[in-house]
Symmetry: C2
Amino acid sequence: MLAIRLIERKRDGGRIGPGEWRALLGAYVAGHVPDYQMAAFLMSVYLRGLDRDEMAALTDAMLRSGGALDLSTIAAPRIDKHSTGGVGDKVSLVLAPLVASVGIVVPMMSGRGLGHTGGTLDKLDAIPGFRSDLSLAEARAQLERIGCVMLGQTGEIAPVDKKLYALRDATATVESIPLIASSIMSKKLAEGLTGLVLDVKRGSGSFLTTLERGIELAETMIALGAAHGCPVVALLTAMDRPLGRACGNALETEEAIQALKGDGPADLMEVTYALGAEMLILGGLAPDRGSAIETLKGAVSSGAAAEKLKEIVEAQGGNPAVVDDPALLPQAEAIELFRATRRGFIAQIEPRAVGRGIIALGGGRATMEDTIDPGVGFVITVKPGDWVEAGEPIASVFARDESGLRAGAGALRDAIRIADEAEPPLALISHRVTREGVEAYAS
Amino acid sequence: MLAIRLIERKRDGGRIGPGEWRALLGAYVAGHVPDYQMAAFLMSVYLRGLDRDEMAALTDAMLRSGGALDLSTIAAPRIDKHSTGGVGDKVSLVLAPLVASVGIVVPMMSGRGLGHTGGTLDKLDAIPGFRSDLSLAEARAQLERIGCVMLGQTGEIAPVDKKLYALRDATATVESIPLIASSIMSKKLAEGLTGLVLDVKRGSGSFLTTLERGIELAETMIALGAAHGCPVVALLTAMDRPLGRACGNALETEEAIQALKGDGPADLMEVTYALGAEMLILGGLAPDRGSAIETLKGAVSSGAAAEKLKEIVEAQGGNPAVVDDPALLPQAEAIELFRATRRGFIAQIEPRAVGRGIIALGGGRATMEDTIDPGVGFVITVKPGDWVEAGEPIASVFARDESGLRAGAGALRDAIRIADEAEPPLALISHRVTREGVEAYAS
């Protein structure tokens, strides 16, 4: 295998075979293919694309580059959820304990935030003592015992993906659906899943802003799952505004805890129940969406869902008392109300601007090397379409100090637009995509 | 200037501005833009292309990255020839002394061979003592004194081109007309030319095998020359078989010397005179092709052309006696006739196979680090369309030893196809391209 021959072939629109993908990635991880050759290859892939067979082979090669969770001795359905990422997206923290409490085994592997989007791991890190750097053996033992684990991407899983992602990030080859889909699926397949539910965000705050690209990603992931015997269902959800009210790590963890205890914001609950219902149906634990949501609501009201989060936190070294008393989470030093600058309709709450505001407060990352302050962020209590009076409190800024308060207020002034009229926002959940096709989602 | 923004823009089909080209190349040479980012950028350029203004800006940025020959004090026409390269192409060695002997100033900068194609510098190196690594100051002094210099690409000229070429070679981004044209023109413009004649090879042994791509390159170079005030004329010539009889460094130098003394093969002379005539016309030293060729033939028969080669060799430290006695050139240890394997027509003499044969003999380079044996090669005395009898000598192999003879004979068996019928080869000179357009070439 000469890397340059594969670059030439992909450059000219040709196909790379399964053995060639394995050889190329193996040589890259071993350092025999230099970054500059892989960069030229990735740009060829970006511009020429991959067909379904090539994506399946690439996914397989990445999957085989590392270890995997062997969960074949666990009889229960093993189902995870993946989100393409957004602002205020704490769904994983609610969803994993919730569906685990009703019998789904959830081997959830998450990432850290980068740029304007947050990451589940950073939110979990806000819990005192919580350890997300489990080995595959530890994760497996915990799954057998309590049916849910929430861990970071270990070096054991698809190690080539980490090296490739860093290169893609530096060479403008991230936003390629074949590369995104293969990267996600290689990691998810390593979790030993029997099903996967995908939350594809759309709108200005999402990775793939258009509906068409979102559906293309969903269909690609569904095909990749099918090629590996893992059924995938996708929902397209709105990310033209933050999800829920809290934006910032500890603030979101607190909101997730409240949600598990029956006090979550309506939009967060609607998305969580919709995704959870798909997981229950995929796992054969509910016949239809209606009964699935009944089951999930029951787990919240009975306290079983919150109890499951306590078990997870305790199993991973964290202080389970945070579930009863979220004030044990890291707190901001300085808090200030943010008031409407004029009367009118909330016309827009721009998620990227909110995300940039969190970075400005010290609660997000511009580069992977940045450390973050878990306590800072925003709680935005209005939604697009709400009517507000001038001076009415519409948000709170949580900061480290006075200058943080000023930076946070400035970010909210950029993010929140108030006008005489407001266009309706995107439907919270607009489409459902399965192997059978795309359908409008009827709430 | 953030390199990643330029990669993104070119990836998406956008344009790079003149200041951005200068900044990008400057940062690359300084090591601030890593090879992997430049590789992704080059692949974007390969697949998205550059418009004429971008090519002119890139050429200008490469030209400005280094020094140049300031020949403005030389009143005579300063004209060079560039060939896209082939097998047996020793035209430069004949043409430069020939046109210099009739009054054209020729600041000829050449390269080394790589892969199946040879390089003029390697042929010059076969002359004992010859130095091609002159400084720009030395080259200028020699031009003022004898009107011709034949030197290698010095680090003073377009230094970024050397670094970029090595990267393109490793990332399958060589065969891009915008990158080829900008690279050639940046170096040629640094020679301070008043005109340039281009020999664009076509056919299986050439770089751009199709007529369409050859014409595209010619038109691109003509436009780039026009943008920099340097008129360019191109001839499309055949490289579906080697040019002349000798293939291999010292063998080709010997053939060039014989050509200057009036004893060159017909095809070599026809191409040399045609290119020389364009140089004389561009330089205003002849009114038309007929009278230009008369002038050139006169310089051969009078001995002035061979005398000019002696002057050049002597000025650059070589032994001028090689012109009178080519036996002073390096000689092969082992020589053997190669005979026709059957009777029939010579249907093909495949230049790439001949070029690979020279590499197998030790007379060419697979990588730029290889050292070469100047004495080895082939003299092929037949041409496509010739009728041969079985066992008739049709070539000689010049090798280092017995095993070289066997390798050489094997290469010729691959290269030379004898059949009952032969398709006519490509016209030796098929088209002439100028700013006015493309015209069929009438010999």
